[in-house]
């Protein structure tokens, strides 16, 4: 890799790749926003990018280099001989070209900051590549995460026929006002989504309550009390945590069919906590171990018994942990699909995820399905964003589960 150790090699190379990445990004963004044809032009992007890479390695002032690259990219793009080929309205073409040019000028100089044109030290070369990879990483991850969610929301607001005509045109006709939310309205009016939401909500809350009621004492015992078989027990928690749901779902289906619990919400409420108790137990015992034992011993010395110690000392101290666990369990229960799908057949008893699965039929238009998906996603997202700190803590504490 020694040939990379020269500014006139690394600079143009990074420049060429970077401009192509940026041109692709802007093209995709503009395509998704307007539905018109934008596409990167590979060869031209590579050439202009290489030139920009050279420019930014020149021993000039930053501002001048940025301005030069921006003007170069902007002018060439508008003329039609640029890194991006466009076929759209004047306004969006100009906007796209301007955005590309400004971002390119600024980021190129930032990436190749202080790179001499001649021989580079190993540090300089690696740092330039790392800045390039970092920039690429931000764009890449943001794009792959955002695009599906963007498509989900936008599809729910458009009609299927419009999307069939041009699958890229996600522009909204804002004049329609509330009529944009027609599919949501229909889901709540004709498909009982209000009921499903309520079912999902109380099933999830009850799952959290039952899970905590079982796992708090269990986790405390495993974490604090000495008894024979403690090691084996904490291992078997992990083992049970790894049994796949589909293996259990089959006998549960049979048992529920025979006992008549299938197709009842009670059956669902009975079964959900059992899937979450091992997770909660595992997470909580970790937290309890981390709490200082001295406080509890002080409580014992002062004449409390164990249960009082748990209730008056351990639980208040573990409150943040309980919040994390509750959130995590709520999320599992809310998102649960397999059991609801297998055990519920009667549309009046569906949970939200089961309701969304019902929409997946060729007779129901796509926007309804996507609106259902949005309805299922938004509550978890709101919870997640509002309580992100607890959530991420909960996720890291016990969940390698998926």
């Amino acid at each position: 890799m020694s040939f990379l150790r020269f500014g006139y090699v690394t600079g143009p190379l990074i420049g060429a790749l970077w401009l192509f990445i940026l041109a692709t990004t802007v093209s995709i963004t503009m395509s998704f926003a307007t539905g018109d044809a934008f596409r990167p032009s590979l060869t031209i992007a590579l050439v202009i990018g290489a030139v920009s890479g050279l420019i930014s390695a020149l021993p000039q002032e930053k501002r001048i280099k940025t301005a030069t690259i921006s003007v170069l990219v902007f002018a060439l793009t508008l003329v039609g001989f640029g890194p991006m080929i466009m076929d759209s309205t004047q306004v969006s073409e100009t906007f796209a070209a301007l955005a590309l040019a400004l971002v390119m000028g600024w980021s190129m100089v930032a990436i190749l900051d202080d790179q001499p044109l001649g021989a580079l030290t190993r540090h300089e070369m690696e740092e330039a590549w790392i800045r390039f990879l970092t920039g690429f990483g931000y764009i890449f991850f943001t794009a792959i995460v955002l695009i599906p969610f963007y498509v989900m929301v936008m599809t729910s607001l458009k009609s299927q026929s419009a999307l069939l005509q041009n699958p890229l045109d996600f522009s909204l006709d804002l004049d329609k006002g509330w009529a944009l939310f027609r599919s949501y309205h229909e889901l709540f009016r004709d498909f009982n989504f209000g009921t499903y939401m309520w079912t999902s909500f109380y099933v999830s809350v009850l799952t959290v309550v039952i899970t905590l009621a079982f796992s708090i004492p269990g986790a405390y015992a495993v974490a604090r009390l000495r008894f024979r078989g403690q090691k084996a027990f904490s291992r078997s928690i992990l083992l049970i945590y790894m049994v796949p749901m589909i293996v259990l779902a089959l006998p549960i289906y049979i048992a529920f069919s025979v006992t008549g619990l299938r197709n009842t919400v009670i059956g669902i409420i009975l079964i959900y906590p059992v899937t979450t108790i091992p997770v909660a137990l595992y997470m909580l015992q970790g937290y309890f171990r981390g709490l200082p034992g001295e406080v509890e011993e002080a409580g014992l010395m002062d004449g409390l018994n164990r249960l009082q110690v748990i209730w008056k000392i351990t639980l208040p101290l573990a409150l943040p942990a309980l919040a994390s666990v509750s959130l995590y369990v709520f999320m599992i229960a809310w998102n649960e699909f397999l059991l609801a799908f297998m055990l519920l057949d009667d549309p009046s008893k569906f949970t939200l995820t089961r309701g969304v699965a019902m929409l997946n039929s060729s007779e129901i238009p796509r926007e309804h399905l996507m609106a259902g998906a949005v309805i299922a996603t938004v509550p978890v997202m709101v919870l997640f964003l509002g309580l992100e700190k607890f959530m991420t803590k909960g996720l890291t504490a016990g969940s390698v589960k998926g």
């Binding site: 991850f141 089959l250 069919s257 997946n360």
Partner: protein
């Protein structure tokens, strides 16, 4: 002077503590064994049974009561049927309470008695496919019109009992399920698909997670937002994101295809989830997309706990950024990476919903878990499904052996 001897065995305090521990654990143990251990055992039982979806409802006698005829020619009719076409029901009995308004005029059917308006029959055995009527000629008591009599007669639900041999509990066993599961090429195709999905999905999610963690392992404005954003795929319900992907990659109205066509990457629409081997690659990509956030979160947490002194020392010694990553960060992350690998490996192996929602196991994406569903519900052969589940459980035991053997010492898991 006597020598002080340390106490042996459990003292009363230790005993009390152990007792308390077990009583705290008891509810959990009960419920978990009820819903985890018991089903696991029953899976083994069922996997040796020739049982289909239809056999789940045990054969039972079905009874309908009605009052027929008019005037003097009235009769109470019981229509009795065996719900199964191939299993007999033994010890069938009927109990019913008759209203006072009916008076029996003729003979009761054989095996039936009527005492104090309590009608009961002992019918013995019903042949498979039995379907007949029992008739009792009656007349109305004085001053009772037909409608009220009919209402009274049919108002009291007759009670019917019978015992049938259920396939679930009898002693008929077969190896046919396992023979079917291991039969021929199909099993190896399924195994290969599972292995590809699991290995590539796990490693991919780890690598992407590592990359994302490296990006966010510095503080800058917007770091919190990006971190939250990168967790979206994991937090959102599977069903929502899976259907979105199907929608996005639809061969006719999908945006991805439109984009690729427009960019000139391809000339005709690609059926991402419908053709081999692309479908398998796509479900694996989906798996990576959905679970990279988890690895990212764990790796980031570990990275942020690495002491910065080490990096300062490396800077003094003139280490380059890649050297610092390779010789300092990576060895520190190896523990969490291997734990993540094993746990994620097991969980990806167990994954069902994702593939089921994306392709339904078609186009060469049928993994072992999807095969359970396919056998049990699509082909309606519960026994074969259970046999696949037993195979899965066997693999799982092997994995967890590895897990406890090599990994559980690390990271204190």
């Amino acid at each position: 002077m006597s020598v002080a001897i340390p106490p042996k065995g459990q003292g009363p305090l230790a005993k009390r503590e152990a007792r308390l521990a077990w009583s705290l654990l008891l509810p959990t143990i009960t419920i978990v064994s009820l819903v985890v251990i018991l089903p696991l055992l029953s899976i083994f039982w069922i996997s040796f049974k020739p049982i289909g979806l239809a056999d789940l409802r045990p054969p039972a006698p079905v009874l309908r009561e009605s009052l027929r005829g008019s005037g003097d020619e009235m009769r109470v009719e019981y229509r009795l049927r065996n719900s199964s076409q191939d299993i007999e029901i033994t010890d069938v009995t009927i109990r019913d309470t008759w209203p006072d308004s009916l008076i029996v005029t003729g003979d009761l059917p054989t095996g039936c008695t009527l005492e104090d308006q309590q009608f009961s029959c002992d019918l013995g055995t019903l042949e498979p496919g039995f379907n007949e009527r029992l008739r009792v000629p009656v007349m109305l008591a004085q001053g009772v019109d037909e409608d009220t009599a009919e209402e009274a007669a049919e108002g009291s639900e007759p009670e019917v009992r019978g015992e049938a041999d259920s396939i679930l509990t009898n002693s008929e066993f077969t190896f046919e399920n396992f023979a079917r599961v291991f039969d021929g090429d199909e099993f190896w195709t399924v195994m290969w698909v599972t292995l590809f999905y699991t290995v590539v999905g796990t490693i991919g999610a780890l690598l992407f997670g590592l990359f994302a963690a490296l990006l966010l392992n510095k503080s800058f404005r917007g770091q919190g937002i990006l971190r939250g954003l990168y967790l979206f795929p994991y937090v959102a319900p599977v069903i929502a994101v899976a259907f979105t992907w199907v929608n996005l990659f639809d061969p006719f109205s999908g945006s991805a295809n439109a984009l690729l066509l427009q960019m000139g990457v391809t000339n005709e629409a690609i059926n991402f989830f419908g053709q081999r081997p692309l479908a398998l690659i796509m479900v694996t990509v989906f798996e990576i997309w959905r679970y990279f956030p988890l690895s990212f979160l764990f790796i980031l947490a570990r990275m942020q706990s690495i002491d910065t002194d080490m990096y300062e020392a490396a800077d003094m010694d003139g280490a380059s950024p890649f050297q610092k990553f390779w010789y300092l960060s990576l060895p520190m992350l190896l523990g969490i990476l291997s734990v993540l690998f094993l746990l994620r490996f097991i969980w990806t192996f167990n994954k069902f919903d994702d593939i089921f929602l994306l392709t339904g196991g078609n186009a060469g994406t049928r993994t072992l878990t999807v095969n359970v569903y396919e056998q049990a519900f699509a082909i309606s052969n519960i026994g074969a499904g259970a046999a696949v589940a037993v195979v899965i459980f066997g693999c799982l035991l092997a994995f967890s052996f590895f897990f406890f053997r090599f990994i559980s010492r690390e990271e204190g898991l």
